[in-house]
Point group: D2
Chain length 161, copies 4
């Protein structure tokens, strides 16, 4: 299922590397020895988690069904217009962020607001794409990867079960 | 939008009264003066909340799209089979439960496990219906109504903003 | 830190075995081959998680400070009386439950309501103990262990990072 | 209880006005007619909520008990040093943020990272103060007030129950 999720992200222009760039940007100030490769690795580990995969499959399906005009109204209009009070995109993203505990929350909110890198590209969108869920979900994956790096940095193998 | 949500629930056999029955069953032991009417009223108030409406519209749409076979695989199979590790149904339900704070959490989990009344009917399902989201969402609405009754019981008008 | 947490639980009469009994009771109907030993193991794995340890240390400290009368009022009275609308005990417990994703939510709410085994003993309390946080935290540890067993049952080593 | 909470915030240098400044800074770009007075009003409404008051009382008590050296170790050191992996401060803050639904999450994370205004002052701390919980809690109050303004802006009286 992980390969499928990676492929669905790629269809929207989201590569592991683009997510890892955001992770590196956020975490390199705290961890001077951090490499871009370990950021890519952290994104991969996050994407292996089942709850993360389910959240991505669900949110990206909702975006796709909105693009195709298949969602029932009024949900269709709400998702197509990324209605600011909708909130269910953040709710599903939270399921990803929580995978490494609540410390991912701060990075998620920050990325969701500042729209760094690929998150901003998703949010600006080209005309034909709906990325109402995608931008939050990618921010959440990046935030979870940041949290994993923070946990790993203290050598906590005991936490990895 | 509230009327639409009530109608969509009704299409699955869920009436305000059936939800209120569960609320009454759970709360009457704590509040001996509780009436069935005030339980109906509490369910109505919960359904007026925008976040609750958005959560219901989203979850019920996913159930309907699963019934119609429109969701992309593997999500289609996961939702059709109410895969136990899926978890996104609980995540969306939590957005409803949180509307009156974390005290709704306990009732939600209890109802989601014991499948009281209409929740059990949804979960058992007739062949043609998918209620993967519906049963959790209805449990969450009932739990939020329970929480509202608990808050109201201490006369906290100050909390009602 | 895990040993310290286990010791602090033991001071309140909570052993790994008593928590594992609840886990076994809840999960054995779904997994007929489940052994009591694997339930003990699951509880151990949950207690190795840093976020779980931090939640336990914080909640149990609040209970102890309430017993000793050291918390400032009105918090002291609220915690001593396990005020039903307080809700912060559920909030901290949720940090534990989330460790294996949202599927732990249902078991947590169920256990928090039905007060199985040691959870009920904590809640009934002997006169001198305050277990406002302890009963929710133990329910959350049991719920997380249930979730871990459910995840493990599908052989998902990929999820274990 | 609201007055007590306001007083406890003031003891740490946090006034309604300082919180409202952050709210105004974040929301004025979206709502050009927003006044500083309505931001103060939104903060007041947030502070009237019981769950918010309970979260503030609990978190600020933990900060105070850490200042006084009364918390048991190792919790004392963790809270005194604002250990980055602790996470329970974010968990309690989330109970505040959720009061107006998940849309408050983004503002919370953003404020918790950028440490605007009074939040930064709390985080930098003078030597004798522990503000491990206080900075997150104030960010959460500001985020909830932002969410309330967003909800009010669409004239949703129906949502105010």
């Amino acid at each position: 299922m992980k390969d499928l999720v990676i492929q669905k992200l790629k269809e929207r222009g989201v590569s592991i590397e683009k997510v890892a760039e955001i992770v590196y940007e956020l975490q390199s100030e705290y961890f001077p020895n951090l490499t871009f490769e370990s950021c890519c690795e952290a994104v991969h580990v996050v994407l292996k988690k089942r709850e993360v995969q389910y959240a991505l499959l669900t949110g990206l399906a909702l975006d796709t069904l909105a693009e195709e005009g298949i969602l029932p109204e009024p949900l269709l209009g709400i998702v197509q217009n990324d209605e600011p009070l909708y909130g269910i995109d953040e709710v599903i993203a939270l399921a990803i962020t929580n995978v490494y505990g609540s410390i991912g929350l701060t990075s998620f909110g920050y990325l969701d607001k500042t729209k760094h890198g690929i998150i901003g590209e998703l949010n600006d969108g080209k005309y034909e794409y709906v990325n109402t869920f995608a931008d939050d979900l990618v921010a959440a994956v990046a935030a979870a990867a940041c949290a994993r790096i923070a946990h790993s940095s203290v050598g906590s193998v005991e936490n990895e079960d």
